[in-house]
């Protein structure tokens, strides 16, 4: 066992990169849930984004076009969910699950010709001077564009929710949709926009997986990451800043267990692999002891006549 072989600087850098897909999906879902909608279809939207992004990137040779398409793909799929829950007034849980199933199947079908292909590489944004700072350099300043975009998105969402009128309306719709409706706010429209945003973010996270993290397309490649993102939102008590922490924690545990193995730590591998999920449960428990509540109208069906 040689723990000294684990390089903390590289570990932190890996952690930040590894947490980006979950971060993107979670921040999108946070906005959706703050608007009072529980979208369990994150996994479906992520994988749809993964294949859309991958396919376009391979066909056009531009990873950025891929990212844009990934976001659009995720958003398009989420609109199906929006149609079901906001217009057809279907049960949120079932609709989200249907979305996941559909998304997994759709992506597998679309991805048939793309297995085993190498996508165009996404350049790293090596910021010239800052990247050379001893410890902080590699950790903070040598990532690709998407990592920074994800961080900017978190900051943006936080600012929007807490300091803008639009954010206020969103939160009002989420807390009490009947009151918001009575005040004249278009509940359905706000929710559909929020759902589309959530879908776009999840799609972006999925595209990051297939274009940067792996980078490859495989059926079912998200492997449950969408569900983790859902857990993260609860873990973060629906606060944008905490989503960041949660993403790093989860990304960190996954990366750490691999590093521990490589360093020869003799903990049974399956138990190490369980650790991210157990840690998530633990944190969920601790967080639910926190007084922060879920948005009041989360998961409840809204219809103007009620």
């Amino acid at each position: 066992m040689d723990l000294s072989s684990i390089n903390p600087v590289l570990l932190l850098a890996s952690l930040i990169a590894a947490s980006t897909p979950i971060l993107l999906a979670a921040i999108g879902e946070l906005v959706v849930e703050r608007a009072g909608v529980l979208n369990l279809g994150v996994e479906g939207m992520m994988i749809t984004g993964a294949i859309c992004g991958f396919a376009i990137a391979v066909n056009t040779g531009s990873p950025f076009a891929g990212f844009v398409m990934g976001a659009l793909g995720g958003a398009a799929l989420s609109l199906l969910f929006a149609a079901l829950t906001q217009m057809a007034l279907a049960n949120h849980v079932a609709s989200g699950l249907a979305l996941t199933l559909f998304g997994l199947g759709l992506s597998a079908l679309l991805g048939q010709g793309y297995v085993g292909i190498k996508p165009p590489p996404t350049p790293k944004l090596d910021i010239p001077l800052l990247g050379d700072i001893p410890v902080l350099g590699p950790v903070l300043f040598s990532h690709d564009l998407m990592v920074y975009l994800a961080l900017a998105l978190v900051a943006g969402v936080w600012a929007m929710l807490n300091h803008t009128r639009a954010g206020l309306i969103l939160r009002a719709v989420g807390e009490n949709h009947d009151a918001a409706h009575a005040l004249g706010y278009k509940v359905v429209r706000v929710r559909v926009l929020a759902i589309a945003f959530g879908g776009a973010c999840a799609g972006l996270g999925g595209a990051y997986l297939s274009l940067v993290r792996v980078p490859q397309w495989t059926e079912g490649m998200t492997a449950g990451v969408g569900w983790i993102a859902l857990a993260l939102v609860v873990f973060a008590s629906w606060k944008a800043g905490r989503v960041l922490l949660g993403a790093w924690l989860f990304g960190g545990v996954s990366v750490l267990q691999l590093n521990l193995q490589a360093a020869g730590v003799a903990v049974p591998v399956e138990y190490l692999s369980m650790s991210p999920y157990l840690v998530t449960i633990l944190v969920l428990v601790i967080m639910s002891a926190d007084k922060s509540r879920a948005p009041g109208s989360l998961g409840r069906i809204f219809h103007a006549s009620q």
Partner: protein
């Protein structure tokens, strides 16, 4: 009437009617049950190449069918039965996990021939076949030992089963032979194919100093991770992974099932098919070594090719003593070679490997 009788009756009736039918059923029907998608670029992809080779070789004489992504258990039984009911004469089941399902269906369809990959249960109409991948690993280990500058070789292992442990041992023995300071760092991914996990594992190994990555998992993700990191050498697994030539992929082990598949199909056509248990290696062409690229120094390449020839000719066995087990006990005496039985059930590391095999 039991299901067995019913099915046997049906199969016989089918056989009768098909032989009475016009021209159409002079074709031999060969079926394939795959555990993954044919586009995985690895294990299943190579089996499918074998299937395509059969089609090309036999032309109109043979018709092939396949089912991909079949899960083990009841679904496998059903898939194999379906294939047998639809008139297949020869069925290849290409994953260890299909063993019991193949055996139980073989018992119900005595006139259909079955071939199970990497298993150990046979029947009068069920053969098993596997490849001596460890021969390829020995060559990889030799090249790895010579190519590494940091003396750390990373190994992405899948499950702690004898086949994987054999591979690790074979690679390590030959790396150590040419480089007494080399160290292996092993990560158990607990999957045969999971690009995200493989990429993470490769990155973790590289971050811990490995500049050679060996893998027993099937995707190209470790090659991509190595390419991203730069200065890291990899080997293709199951397929050539040629898109990563000439660097980081400097060689590969290729599963080549075509010769065996064609031979067995011919045997069914000729009526000479008999049950057998084969374990073929470089000699019979089941294990191929992919092109060793120019990134490898000429003298290393010569040595590797010489070893390959020696193994193929039967002059050299990758597990030749003197060798000790990891716990220090003696295993093989000077000049003694390991017998197939020990190799098939290998559950120990050789001396010099650090770490434990997960239980």
């Amino acid at each position: 009437m039991t299901l067995k009788t019913l099915l046997t009756g049906a199969a016989l009736a089918l056989g009768l009617t098909s032989s009475l039918a016009l021209a159409q059923d002079d074709k031999t029907k060969v079926g394939f049950i795959y555990v993954g998608p044919i586009g995985d670029g690895g294990w299943t992809f190579e089996h499918d190449k074998g299937r395509l080779a059969i089609e090309e070789h036999f032309g109109d004489q043979v018709e092939t069918i396949y089912r991909e992504s079949v899960s083990e258990g009841a679904d496998a039984s059903r898939a194999i039965t379906q294939m047998a009911l639809s008139g297949a004469d020869l069925i290849f089941t290409t994953s260890f996990g299909f063993m019991d399902a193949t055996l139980s269906v073989a018992e119900k369809f005595p006139d259909v021939k079955f071939e199970h990959a990497t298993g150990y249960k046979t029947a009068p109409n069920l053969s098993t076949y596997s490849a001596r991948f460890y021969e390829g690993r020995a060559i990889q280990g030799h090249i790895a030992g010579k190519m590494t500058k940091s003396n750390i070789v990373g190994y992405i292992a899948s499950y702690p089963i004898p086949e994987v442990i054999r591979g690790i041992n074979a690679a390590f023995i030959h790396a150590r032979k040419v480089n007494p300071d080399v160290q292996f760092k092993i990560i158990w991914a607990y999957t045969w194919f999971d690009p995200a996990k493989e990429a993470d594992a490769a990155t973790a190994l590289i971050e811990q100093g490995a500049d050679v990555i060996l893998q027993h998992t099937d995707s190209t993700a470790p090659q991509a991770a190595a390419e991203k990191a730069g200065g890291v050498v990899t080997f293709g697994q199951a397929s050539d992974m040629a898109e990563y030539k000439p660097f980081p992929r400097i060689s590969s082990i290729i599963d080549n099932w075509a010769p065996y598949y064609i031979a067995r199909t011919q045997a069914v056509i000729d009526g000479t098919w008999e049950t057998q248990q084969v374990w073929h290696g470089i000699d019979e062409g089941m294990v191929e070594i992919g092109e060793i690229t120019d990134a490898v120094p000429a003298d290393v390449r010569e040595e590797a090719l010489a070893m390959k020839a020696a193994i193929a000719a039967g002059e050299y066995h990758p597990f030749t003593g003197p060798l000790k087990k990891q716990d220090g006990s003696d295993w093989l005496a000077d000049g003694e070679t390991a017998d197939d039985g020990t190799l098939l059930g290998m559950d120990f590391y050789v001396e010099g490997l650090e770490g434990e095999i997960p239980q």
